[in-house]
């Protein structure tokens, strides 16, 4: 799909320069160009643009952002500016722009900016999934890591993991990553970032799977404030189709914030002969206060033996709440994989753990397609 671009740039010379970049960029077509936003708003519609580049060096243009997103609901809006401005970038994102691009830009930079927001169009609404566990050692990090891999492979869309298990996040170890930047820096800097620049804080696992790693030391956890964390996740939503958030155990400010923000919260517990079911019930009671709990909250049990539909139903009956998925006990496989910085999915895609997680990925993708299409 080509991008049909409307360019709004007050400076005549810059307008020429950017126009020729857009004309020369593969996959882009300059539909129309204007010096004044009012002209673009009034006349641009006939060209059916799906990408609008709006100069915001002219401060007055900022106020037009909502009008653009309203008048062109099918188009994504990128703001362009000759210099980086922290406040503006968060302002424009909040006002409805999808991103921020520094001008003059090259054809590559334009392509990258657009790619960053998703290949099939930038007006992305992503699925945020929070993984909550009443107690630790629930198997949720293993679940998230493998589920993310599976989602990335099956959907071909962009997937991210945010390791918000602030003190003792293990995602970097699971993927054998040595992160340059972590959640601490991303949350600290968020007000200076645009989606494109936030993307650089994530580490690459594969073509379409990226990870924002957890803190390097437990005491850095307190550097992560809730409000900028929320902003960061919202910004990441314009980068990724699926966002999976790993959380510390129990109810705490970050797990509550992430659950509230997420489209779906998965409560995860490991069956190990203790009181996991009771703890799960206790946690569920809190989530039941949400009127849409049944839609938004799902439960998953890990280390289930025997891991079959009967058992899944049985667990659901005892729990008094449907169980969305059961994951089998593959302790040795999982630990061997984690010790090597590899995923169970990779080591053996036909093992029961991989199969069950793949099934969950299918359900998530199917549900999304059902909703969107």
């Amino acid at each position: 799909m080509d991008y049909r671009v409307i360019l709004i740039e007050n400076n005549r010379l810059m307008l020429e320069r950017l126009s020729s970049v857009i004309k020369g960029a593969a996959g882009f077509e300059l539909a129309a160009r204007y010096q004044q936003p009012g002209d673009a708003l009034g006349q641009g519609g006939v060209f059916k643009p799906n990408l609008i580049l709006l100069d915001i060096d002219d401060r007055a243009n900022l106020q037009f952002i909502p009008a653009f997103t309203q008048s062109f609901p099918a188009a994504a809006l990128l703001c362009i500016s000759s210099h980086w401005n922290a406040n503006d970038s968060s302002h424009v994102v909040r006002a409805g722009a999808k991103g921020y691009l520094i001008k003059p830009f090259t054809a590559e930079e334009l392509g990258e900016a657009v790619d960053t927001f998703g290949k099939s169009g930038m007006a992305v609404s992503s699925d945020v999934m929070a993984f909550f566990s009443p107690k630790g050692k629930s198997g949720k990090t293993t679940l998230i890591a493998n589920l993310a891999l599976s989602l990335a492979r099956k959907s071909g869309e962009s997937v991210a993991i945010i390791d918000a298990d602030l003190q003792f996040g293990d995602m970097a170890v699971f993927f054998n990553l040595a992160p340059q930047s972590t959640i601490v820096e991303a949350v600290r800097d968020v007000k200076f970032l645009s989606p494109i620049t936030l993307n650089a804080y994530f580490q690459t696992v594969s073509d379409n799977l990226r990870v924002l790693c957890g803190t390097k030391k437990p005491d850095y956890a307190e550097l992560v404030d809730i409000k900028p964390f929320n902003d960061m996740v919202r910004m990441a939503q314009s980068l990724f189709r699926y966002i999976l958030i790993d959380l510390p155990a129990g109810f705490n400010p970050i797990s509550v914030a992430a659950s509230e923000l997420a489209n779906t919260t998965y409560l995860v517990a490991m069956v190990s002969g203790g009181f996991e079911l009771q703890h799960m019930q206790r946690a569920l009671d809190v989530f039941r206060a949400w009127p849409d709990c049944e839609q938004r909250v799902k439960t998953i049990f890990t280390r289930v033996e025997p891991c079959n539909a009967d058992m899944q139903e049985k667990l659901g009956l005892v729990l008094g709440y449907p169980v969305a998925a059961v994951i089998p006990n593959e302790y040795l496989l999982v630990s061997a994989a984690a010790n090597n910085g590899r995923m169970a999915m990779d080591n053996d895609p036909n093992n029961p753990l991989a199969i069950n997680i793949a099934r969950l990925a299918d359900a998530i993708i199917g549900q999304r397609r059902g909703k969107v299409g």
Binding site: K135, G136, V173, P218, P248, A249, F251, A283
Partner: protein
């Protein structure tokens, strides 16, 4: 309470979950009680604590009620009415149970809990604190309050060891005397491919004590609601647990044993 003697606080802590904090806390409390000490076990895993589960207790009053009492009148606060008794074959100890409601748990104040713990210290020879595996504000104060920190770890796979290491480093950075912190390895010999000595080298210190893995015995004791040291005294895990407690009470040195017995009897009379 000026001049009054305060009891020993054993804070049981870890930086990984499900390493056996609760199991070891209840067994420490039971063994100390078995030896004749006046013991209280506090469940400070406020949201999803297992002490009452593992001991099959149905407390009617909890730490949340204690908090309300402190908030009404901190000076007049007496912790005793908020405790639940555990007894098995003549061995008795007190339990400060965790909140019944999650909402109560979420609204507990670390400062108030510290106050409650300090008051309990004047009432008991030993206070065992079960915690969660995170450096929360509450846990930091419980680490401060501890006479001894039992820092529990298991060696299963790399992420757990990483967290044990970073937890250890963090505790060390808090400036405690090194003999306050006791590294205890639990579930030794469980399925693992990692060499113990490598772990000790990584931690920069040998384990103070090593407890064997015995899943069946541990599980049975949880199902029965009876601490291992009381129910299956011959199991090797029970033996090692007793041995560990012995090292905390000087029980292993014959001479001090009698001395300690006297002092605890003495203390009880004058409390």
């Amino acid at each position: 309470m000026e001049g009054a003697r305060s009891g020993i606080v054993i804070t049981v802590f870890s930086t990984a979950s499900a390493v056996g904090k609760t199991l070891i806390s209840i067994n420490m409390a039971a063994e100390l009680a078995h030896e004749g000490h006046h013991v209280c076990l506090a469940d400070l895993d406020l949201q999803f604590g297992d002490v009452s589960n593992y001991l099959k207790l149905s407390p009617t009053r909890t730490v949340a009620d204690a908090q309300k009492a402190v908030q009404r009148d901190a000076d007049a606060f007496d912790p005793m009415p908020f405790l639940t008794q555990y007894s098995y074959k003549g061995v008795n100890f007190s339990v400060l149970a965790g909140p019944l409601e999650l909402a109560e748990a979420y609204n507990m104040s670390p400062l108030t809990i510290a106050h409650i713990v300090k008051q309990l210290q004047y009432k008991f020879d030993y206070l065992v604190l079960d915690t969660t595996s995170t450096f929360s504000e509450l846990n930091l104060s419980l680490l401060d309050l501890g006479t001894i920190i039992t820092f529990l770890g298991i060696v299963d796979f790399i992420p757990t060891i990483k967290n044990m290491k970073s937890g250890c480093d963090t505790i060390r950075s808090m400036g405690y005397d090194s003999n306050k912190i006791r590294l205890v390895l639990n579930r030794s010999n469980s399925k693992t491919r990692i060499d113990l000595e490598d772990v000790e080298q990584l931690l920069g210190e040998p384990f103070y004590h090593v407890l064997p893995n015995d899943f069946v015995a541990a599980q049975q004791s949880i199902q029965m609601g009876v601490p291992l040291v009381l129910s299956s005294q011959s199991a090797s895990l029970a033996k090692e647990l007793r041995h560990l407690v012995g090292r905390y009470t000087n029980q292993e040195v014959e001479q001090t044993e009698t001395q300690h017995g006297v002092s605890s009897w003495f203390r009880k009379i004058f409390n």
